[in-house]
Symmetry: C2
Subunit: 506 residues, 2 copies
Amino acid sequence: MRFSVLLISIFCAALAFAAERPLIHFTPEKGWMNDPNGLFYDRKDDIWHLYFQYNPNQPYWNQPLYWGHAISKDLTTWTHEKLAIGPEHADEGIFSGSIVVDHNNTTGFFNESINPDQRVVAIYTNNADIQTQDLAYSLDGGYTFTKYSENPVLNVNSTQFRDPKVIWHQESYQWIMTVVQAQQYQIQIYGSTDLKHWNLHSNFSAGFTGYQYECPGLIEIPIVGTNETKWVMFLAINPGSPLGGSSDQYFIGDFDGFQFKPMDSYTRLVDLGKDFYALQTFSDVEKTDGVLAIAWASNWQYANDVPTKGWRSSTSLVRNLTLDYISTNPEKKLLSLVQTPVFESNVSKSTEKSNITLQKNDSIDFNADSGVFEFELNFKVLKKLTYPEVPNLDLYISTKDGAESIRFGFNPVIQAFYLDRTTDAFKNPFYTGQISANVEPYLDNEYKVHGVVDRNIIELFFNDGAVTMTNTFFLSEEANPCTMNLTSNMNDEFHIRSVSFKELSV
Amino acid sequence: MRFSVLLISIFCAALAFAAERPLIHFTPEKGWMNDPNGLFYDRKDDIWHLYFQYNPNQPYWNQPLYWGHAISKDLTTWTHEKLAIGPEHADEGIFSGSIVVDHNNTTGFFNESINPDQRVVAIYTNNADIQTQDLAYSLDGGYTFTKYSENPVLNVNSTQFRDPKVIWHQESYQWIMTVVQAQQYQIQIYGSTDLKHWNLHSNFSAGFTGYQYECPGLIEIPIVGTNETKWVMFLAINPGSPLGGSSDQYFIGDFDGFQFKPMDSYTRLVDLGKDFYALQTFSDVEKTDGVLAIAWASNWQYANDVPTKGWRSSTSLVRNLTLDYISTNPEKKLLSLVQTPVFESNVSKSTEKSNITLQKNDSIDFNADSGVFEFELNFKVLKKLTYPEVPNLDLYISTKDGAESIRFGFNPVIQAFYLDRTTDAFKNPFYTGQISANVEPYLDNEYKVHGVVDRNIIELFFNDGAVTMTNTFFLSEEANPCTMNLTSNMNDEFHIRSVSFKELSV
């Protein structure tokens, strides 16, 4: 264990003032990435496949745009594979889409030599003069693809028709595609028995509209502690999120194979941070693995301007999705998405403290030179203060020399967690410095926070994932966030039930 | 004119390093203000009445909480009046509510000596052990009030039942109250023939929920260019807005006297800034004056912490509300609220320029020592740039010495306006520095902005009020925002069709 820490320190020192990509979040080695695409699990070889919107030529969005590809055994570390699908012309793109495993060969693309668990079909948007939904299939389990000769399989003669997400709906025994008429604010639901011929079943519109809809997705999710499920419709909007730029929202309801009927008229956000967009769920996951999803961890308002060198953007961690009734105020529990991170790592170094009532300027400290760590914090608010008091429980996350910090914390009078990610390293008027999340205590005045910090991204899971907030941040010269200090400006206001810090390695 | 400018300069100098309250936005002279309440127009005396949530004793929220009172002839300058209504006990409050003019004496509170246009009845929440809806009436046109002896008139035995807004609904010949079961996420619609006895007609729930609902309001609003109207349901949420803290949303639909039926499932925000909450419309406005409303121009996340001295918070300007079909992308027009500011002022000084294609580092400048000015900017984007270009049209608004600035601007690649209001004068992790608004051009690549800057508030009206963004800001030592510089980082990207700056006085 000591040896591994030493190795990390040397590694960290060697890379000071150079680009350090996140370790347990997927990034391209070079070039530009946006939405995750075609996520699926290969049951035969036990391999997770991740494709993504990829411009390998420049670290910003541009055409020709490809499906990049990476694989993983543990949903944590990813091996970069060759480009999976590319456009016919340089001014075109293979835009977002999904993959299904066609076990029963409904498409006729496969013969008996292809294992049913590896009958991989991609459904994606071909972005040319217009946007159409096209197919490509793989005879080698997802590494190389052949475009279907009769493409497109769905064409409404629109320049704004995209992002097909396909699932198999067992009850109605058909493929279901959700796809957006982006600027009509319509999620369209189509059905097919062969992935080639599609019938429009219904349209769905709701929520914040912004400029346009993108990346829809419909999936059945279990309600924790019951045998029940509900259907969740995911919907991305960009630009024009109330947070600025890009956000994901969702709606909970029922689906009969033809129409999605929301259970209420509420608009729910998937994540309260500024860097969580275009979430997609994995296809063909074993039921015991749950419902798994990945989002793009950036925002179109500044994604092309962030100060990373040679590469741009990471994904979120993989998240396991369930539904549960979550307290949103003292009177109400709302059925809500619960998200927990899925990753496997080694702990290089850790510390744990418990039952400490913080006094003013007390500090609980930890160092993680690699800039990759997680923390779990369980605290109780002791005194019910009110205006004009400004009590803060603060976790400062700083560079090794302490010159730069981001500040995460909680104010019980305002009843919200905050993140101040302002640094000198990145100035952009759309890069919102201060972001917050209103969170209801999970017990009387008690809150839980699980944070994962990975070089330039912080994912926060409040109360076991009842609320989440994902944000990137940028330190000068790409120094690592190495030093943590948990502190308060008040005596006897915050009781730390427990806090642990763990430096992570893979 | 020169004389008036001189006077303002002297005034400005005298107040340097002292508290300067906004001039054409209403503020309390001292103490704390939040929601506007009981807004009504006295048709007999041609006087506008504004009441407001008021703690005269401290510059932060606390009980006893009163209805403060001010009157105006021009909706711009306000005369402070005595406290209008106060609670029975020091630990109680007269919470938000509305006023109606009971022309027909449905309550029986008035005799013939009281002019029908001055039969003033306040319906408000009494905040004690529980929250109930109470009445008070005025026999002197709104200056002093008598509480109804049979209060409360509506009690559901809840601690979270508040903010009654009452209108007269002519078609069903009854009073209609919208009021929230705040933590049940319910707007309740009640009807009454005498303001004393209320029947529950229906409930309405929608939109973004946050922690709780507050300050509902239902009103009929004309659709521009037609003889049609729609009903608009306003709804405030706090905390837990997607922007952080407090926001107002609205829904458009029909109302038959019993139920509000939204025309679609969209969630719309009234204003995209962080300081616009608890909007209320005026009662008894002459039809020719339109639908007029005022909001509180702050946010509960930091309202009690802003660095104003002895007083806290202003209202928004009065806004005239209409509905119109607004382009939100190239394919779609959505019926939306259109808001234009209503105020009367003198122009102390002005400048106007037109037909200038900005070159890099060109600057169009203006000074307004009083810190009170408006600007109208009409520009065209000349070149369609894309990533990774970062073209900015910037309006810097600075202190006289230039030491501190806020930055307002537009980036055509990101397709949004931004405000960076970060200054050294106010650091609070909930005080979001960077706020943005996605705006569709009103003509081919053309945008209009009307801005009103009043010492520590900037209200922005895009494309004649199709989108609005209201934010406070704070300069060191409360120096005034005196200096404007309109500039760009690009050659030949922005063509200024016209720009005018006007220093305002009253």
